[in-house]
Amino acid sequence: MLMSIDSISKSYNAFPNPPAKVLHDVTLNVDTGEAIGLVGESGSGKSTIAKCMLALIKPEEGAITYDGIDVIHARGEDLRRFRREVQMVFQDPYGSLNPRMTVEELIGEGLLIHKLEPTAAARRARVAEMMEMVGLNPNDMDRYTRSFSGGQRQRIAIARALVIRPRILVCDEPVAALDVSVQAQVINLLQDMQKKLNLAIVFVAHDLAVVRHLCEKIVVLHKGKVVEQGTREQIFDNPQMPYTQSLLAAVPVPDPVVGRARRAARRLETAN
């Protein structure tokens, strides 16, 4: 097991109201090379879990362990290794790239600060290689990201995260802000990278169709609790909890006959 999250709870201060508990006893594991989907409605605590996994915030209770490192209390060399091996891609492709840095600086920053390449020239070569790998033109290396499209920016974000060869990539709704046509490209790229680099991916989404394509394991979250988790087949073909069933019912179904039947069923339900 690469990372284990063991019954963590997290509250946010909501002064003057009492602190609001948004995660209750959440437990989940990430294995090497696997893609996990974290699904749930808006406000169910998906991003909060992602931030805990990235050590951006600390849960008050429970433990997070990454490859022998106690993530919540990690310091020094442990923390450095954790920072090198667990990376992320955010939802907002505009706010997540520093506008004052060129593509080369953005992608090369991890190499620089973790001293993974001896010289600037070697870094530049690695950046170029990485850009090709994610489908960007290395000639754009010296440009700022202002004029790039959302899809290109997400590719830059992915290259920036993956150039230092992390073992876990946490993606918080990485395609939610993209055009539908671009979403599939980015998803395919992530899947590609997962296979090529033996990368574990934690994929946060409220779109089950995306998760179905990418993730072999799925965790369903509701009001800060894990209500169901299992393999893709278990969740999609035989959901146990009513909440999961209602989530699945909201997924657009490509087959018009099934879709029509489902809409009819829902009309009946509301009529009664």
Binding site: R80, Q87, G95, P99, M101, E109, G110, I113
Partner: protein, 284 residues
Amino acid sequence: MTAPAIAQPAARRKEGFSAFEIFVFSLVVALLAIAIFGPLLAPDSIYSSDIANSLMPPSAANWFGTDDQGRDVFWRLIVGAQTTLLSAFLVVTLYSLIGVTLATVAAAGPRWLDEALMRVTDIGLALPGMIVALGFAAAMGASLRSAVIAMAITGWPITARMLRGIMRQTMEQPFVAGAQVLGVSKWRLMTKHVLPNSLDVLIVKWAGDIGTTVLVLASLSFIGVGAQPPSAEWGATIASARGYVSTAWWTVVAPGAAVAITSIAFGLLGDIIQVRRDPSLRGN
């Protein structure tokens, strides 16, 4: 058939500069050019007195007349422009550096340090800056250097307070969390990610600050704690000429107008830059 009217003119007006803006820009450029190159052109005679020619009214030979020492008022203003503007630049640069440093430490540091620095800043904001600068300058011994140092060490609170607020906002941006996840040091986080995305406001503030500083610096010199005669600094020039207001008005009016025009020109430049960055302020 007529083509549909497109609202081009409005868009174009936003790009171009108004006559007033061009006027202000030219004025500032002219002042800077005078401050940089003027002294190279000045005749040596302005440094020596020629009592026989003292207090002559403006003429073709002495455009703004002569002062009590018989020196040409116009050329002394030109030389004084360099002293005045250079000092103002120095003051603003120094206190901006202090402000940026304190804001960065406050924004990056632990809560208690932030609180402590902001309380000190509040005190700094509450004290009348010019009076404190006057005290400092007097304590260090009246000289232009004392005035510059005094203004530099009293001028930073507004910059520090403003910038610290903006840096806190910048730190909420996702790319800052991204840099943390990547594992950048606190120093790199602040200098490479937070500061460069927070400094815009200083660039806007800068021109207006020069305008204010020119005025305060001239005032300190006029009161006697800044530049001392025979310096050509404008405040000192007004001070040494004030006995002749009734008999030779040009000796006072010329440097007075120079101070007014310069501080207003830079103040207007500051306003123009600010409105251009945030058009919603237009009309205020």
